[in-house]
Amino acid sequence: MISEELLAILVCPSCRTKLQLIGEHWLVCTNPDCSRKYPIIDDIPNLLIEEGTKYIHVQISDLPAHPTR
């Protein structure tokens, strides 16, 4: 689980905007022009730009509840 304290310093690696925790498994860039979404799998967030880019066009409501590698 991502702590509030960690969430406070996390930013999108692409545009450096704050990330929002959605449920337990997604960190979503709050910049609407970026919209990258980063999965958390096995308690390890994947904050690589290319990973976030895969989900740019996926609506938050359509993100898989339990992302896998």
Binding site: I2, S3, E5, L6, I9, L10, V11, C12, P13, S14, R16, K18, L19, D42, D43, I44, P45, N46, L47, L48, I49, E51, R69
Partner: protein
Amino acid sequence: MSSGQRPQDVFGQRADYYVHSQTHSDAEQLQRLVEMAQPQSHWRLLDVGAGTGHTALALAPHVAASVGIDLTIEMLLQAQKLAAARGQRVTWLLADAQTLPFADSSFGLVACRRAAHHLVDVTGALQEMVRVLAPGGVLLIDDRSIPEDDAIDVLMNQLDVWHDASHIRQYRASEWCDMIAAVGLRLRALEGYVQHRPLSSFAHGAGPVEVAAMRQRLARATPHEREWLALEQQGQEWLFNNWYLSLAAVKVAGAG
């Protein structure tokens, strides 16, 4: 990059070895790094290229919170297991040293151990580490290094490419001084050390073609190279010097 192979491909296959590798988990050397860092209990730690977690886990007891990043998920899964076995709490993230996913000035201590020689753009990564370092914070580097000798520079970097196709370059102390100055940090301490290691340990994980290339290269070492390496042959085994360097540098207020 020597052959275009990515670090996560090389280290995904070697994650299990690095948990048990003696040179990487050497308790005395990690303790020396803790001393050099002079960590403060309210600091947050970032370990860049955390691998299987040895450095983050050594520093974590001395700071308030710890984060370890790596490009290779297999390494982080090992780190996660090691932390759980020791009852320690560190947050592990898949992230790239060139594009750190942290706000400016987030960390009192940024460590990078045995990883800088893999960085394609070491200056860019150092700039990122300085960006996320708070004013007054410390950058702690430990890495393979080379003496100030052109022939040994070429030889050791060639051996390391054979050992690991994602190797970029191991740097001289003088190069580190220049790089630290270039990113606006004040060097507080720099220490070199040498380990006389067997080829069988150095070459662990390398393919048979690469190991054969290393043996042939060592067999035709010049007298100058033999002297620097303190090269010894014991039956099928070669022993030779490996150079390392540790440094601590401070982000002075108003820099970066």
